[in-house]
Symmetry: C2
């Protein structure tokens, strides 16, 4: 889904392929980084690494970023902290697709944020989520198939909850858990947009969100990366042992009727990753033909 | 609701009325504080003030706390940061009342967390919320009145969603937005309990939660207080102006059908506060007679 718009944006110079990603402000355990309109997947990792370096020195590090673009999955960034035995946090803003609680027009991004936490045994905890009830991509898939959507996913143009996927695409996504998710999204926008001095979600171009589109304008988006150095607070081995004990306490909870297992954040995705490393990544015919067509567009051989 | 258990706990020495609240570990922009089993309402404010001091020096400050007790409303703590032109964050753990997603037994607290953000005009943004769908106190009020509860608030002892408030009191609260709220609660417990080396929620005594009860044992709870110094990233005046612009963008969103206004986090509570400062705090006959009875119990004159 992301390969064509990423490559087109770089090829057209809408996203800067050779950015100078530099701190424009530094103070103690913090930095403000200008992404020079580079690729967000790269900028986010650089920002996280810098936060990790600051956290080595000060116990915690925060790096705010402006003038960036789409960051890909946030797990990419926070895992760089967890792999160095720190707790990672990352948030980013994005184009408006979600109405504030009580509104009927998109004014907020889906307000994604992520945490990663190292464990003693097993893969790190990774919570990588959006503050919307569901991802807009899910509604689009229903609309493409002509299927209805479940109750509570979205509202139509009048702001009324709808099960009509096409009406939802013309309307707006809604925050998870109503005013609670709206509150989280509101604060997340302050951290990701206002603090770094980036564009507000409502001011960002939306073309990137439409299927098959080019990215006609850069995002000017903002991020906030934080690393918390576990060593500053606890013996790292004791900390990760205690994280494992919390995991066990969750997994050993008696099951509700109709449930097979209790999972911890990131567990399903680690499971999928192991399978795909072994068996490859399944691609359906539509995606494959889109990638083949895109390979032709840019003049490379399809694999 | 809180006055009798707070006072009883202090009078009985279950909570230490003269604690030595001290840092047992300090590193850069962080500290680990032992609350010496003092009152959480006091400890949380001391921890926040220390985080603010660190953020003055380093741009960000994090203070983790162990060996504490119930903190009252989290807004009390984060507002101390916002009043000094910083972004405040605070979280605390508490006794298990909520099942993990897919479970049927309480193993998590309601995982409350709060943010406060200064504005240029008007009262600070305050997001002070729990990760449960609703507060357990709301279910208890329905149970006391013999009323049913709305769909989605809680599960019964078998883990099945129930509208029977009494069955819900024997069962468990559930995370907001299903697995999303569970993920937030899980990470919050790591920050509030595991990082400071406090008790896990599932190990904390629950007596305090029951109406009219004493607090028979101290909580051993943990908190995490963070302050982000706006000045490290932006001109404070520009930052608060931009927060106001975000507020305006939300409030000017076209309204959904059936909605009167779009609010921002904390706005209803600031409104209530102004009214109560002017008109006093309404107390119903039940609460008043409970307070009168408690005054008699401890040998003071009811007002």
């Amino acid at each position: 889904m992301r390969v064509p718009p990423y490559v087109r944006a770089l090829a057209a110079g809408v996203v800067n392929p050779t950015p100078r990603i530099e701190a424009v402000r530094q103070f103690g355990a913090t930095a403000l980084v200008d992404g020079d309109n580079g690729h967000g997947v790269v900028i986010g990792q650089i920002a996280t690494d810098r936060a990790v370096d600051l956290a080595h020195q000060f116990g915690v590090g925060i790096v705010a970023v402006r003038n960036s673009n789409h960051t890909g999955m946030l797990a990419t960034h926070v895992l760089r902290a967890a792999n160095r035995n720190m707790i990672g946090y990352f948030t980013s803003n994005g184009p408006a697709i979600m109405a504030p609680h009580g509104g009927r027009e998109p004014r907020m991004g889906n307000a994604p944020f992520a945490y990663a936490v190292p464990r003693r045994t097993g893969d790190p905890i990774v919570l990588d989520m959006a503050s919307s009830q569901v991802a807009r991509g899910k509604v689009r898939m229903h609309a493409d198939r002509g299927d209805p959507i479940p109750e509570g996913w979205a509202i139509d143009e009048r702001g009324v909850p709808t099960r009509d996927a096409a009406a939802a695409m013309r309307g707006s996504m809604v925050p998870m858990a109503g005013y609670k998710g709206y509150g989280i999204a509101f604060v997340t926008e302050i951290l990701a947009s206002v603090l770094p001095g980036a564009r507000l979600s409502v001011e960002m171009p939306r073309a990137f969100l439409e299927a098959g589109s080019s990215m006609l304008d850069s995002w000017g988006s903002g991020h906030l990366a934080m690393a918390i150095n576990v060593e500053a607070f606890a013996d790292p081995g004791e900390f990760t042992t205690e994280v494992d004990r919390l995991v066990t306490s969750m997994k050993e909870t008696p099951l509700a009727e109709g449930t097979d297992a209790i999972l911890v954040p990131g567990e399903p995705e680690w499971f999928t990753r192991r399978h795909r490393l072994r068996d490859g990544i399944p691609l359906n015919a539509t995606v494959l033909s889109q990638l083949d067509a895109f390979a032709e567009e840019i003049g490379i051989e399809p694999i």
